[in-house]
Amino acid sequence: MNNSAHLGSGKTFGLWSLLASFFERIGSLTVFSLRFLQTVFLPPYEFGEVKRHLDELGSRSLPLVGTTGFIVGLILAMQTRPTLYRFGADAFLPAMVAISFVRELGPVITALIVAGRVSSGIGAELGSMRVTEQIDAMEVSGIDPFKFLVVTRVLACMILLPLLTAIVDALGLLGAYVSIVIESSMSWRLYWNSVIQSLTFADLVPGIAKTAIFGFIIGIVGSHQGFKTTGGTVGVGKASTTAVVLSSLLIIFVDMILVKITVWIWG
């Protein structure tokens, strides 16, 4: 009896400390995000550094997200065609692929892949700078490391994500066409016309624009984890892993809210 009571209180305590640690992390992340908003408009502006990160992060992510987008488009068309065919609705395949890809799949696939690739990279890079005192070195030189390291990376991610998403959407639609053309004789012109006619402003703009918010999440979570790293190389590993997990979860959670808002506004 005593043992089970003891076990029960241990479980409660474990759950409580887990919740406390989660909310502590979210609180710290919120303060970090507010600091970004407070700092981003103030000089000095490190445009060169933003451009450098854009080049680096873009070239690092494009091959992976591009290939994934193409293959997902191909698979989506391949999987959906038999079902639509059964109901005699296979003519709607281009429209269905276009809407699902542009509204949801393209943005979320891009964001999740970039989160895995970039957020962990930022976490590891800033984490190792923290444990080797490079961030302190910047601070004692009278240079704001938050401005130089965090603001530039977050801005680069916010610019990069919409651009990558546009490319992934295009490649996904191309992948879907390849699948369709293998199984039927639909011409590119007919396919493209169906795609264009099916897409509206409410599909395109929110789909691309929300990825800037995903870019913010990726940049800020990676930077936060890296900036707050403690505990040497083990801490760097943890920062990198936590950055991926937390940014992926936040992307999905925020996407759910944004979809609801988009549907509420545009229907």
């Binding site: 700078m129 080797t132 005192e133 490079q134 302190d136 910047m138 004692v140 030189s141 704001d144």
Partner: protein
Amino acid sequence: MGLIEIRDLSKSFNGHAVLKDVNLVVEKGSTVVILGKSGVGKSVLLKTIIGLMPPDTGSIRIDGQEVVGMDRRTLDALRKQMGYLFQGAALYDSMTVRENLAFPLERQARLTVDELEERILRQLGMVGLEDAIDKMPAELSGGMKKRIGLARALINNPRIMFYDEPTTGLDPITAREISYLIKELQQLYQPTSIAVTHDMMCARIIADKAAVLHDGVIEYEGTISGMESVSNEVVKSFLATA
């Protein structure tokens, strides 16, 4: 009145007191070496003085200005008059040696490209590493990293210098070379300096004055030669290692 004045400074981590009412005065142009075993809080003291860690209580005045609670902008302006050599040199590992030296310089002074290059080359010449200008930090040995770190710390002719374990991790010969290099650069730039170390050889070379930190308290303050005549066991144990 000293250029740096520390009064009743205390700092603790998770209830463990690392610094207990530390008092220290550093006169303008002098070099004070803080001696102490590893883990007694020497680096914490240095980081607290420069504002990287807030103290629990106490006061730190640099050139008459209170550092504790100072706003970010004023602190940054004050830090631009300071140099800091980190224990591991803390070179930016994504930048070449040239970029490492240019980084603080181009953000603090308006210089042309030629002036910038000239200052970098002059600084590297002082530490004898002109050839390393295009190398990445990963390509440098421990001693070379310290030299580059020293060149970077001194590139803005700081009025105040901080050295965190300048000889740690180096072989005795390189440690001696670095100590003499610090001494030489101290004489050239004449900054007010605080160095923390557990290396008596380094302390003998660079110090005008020594302070021995033990259990969060300064046990001895005076000249290095004066340490010989003190009966304090902690001080004696340091002399025994020299």
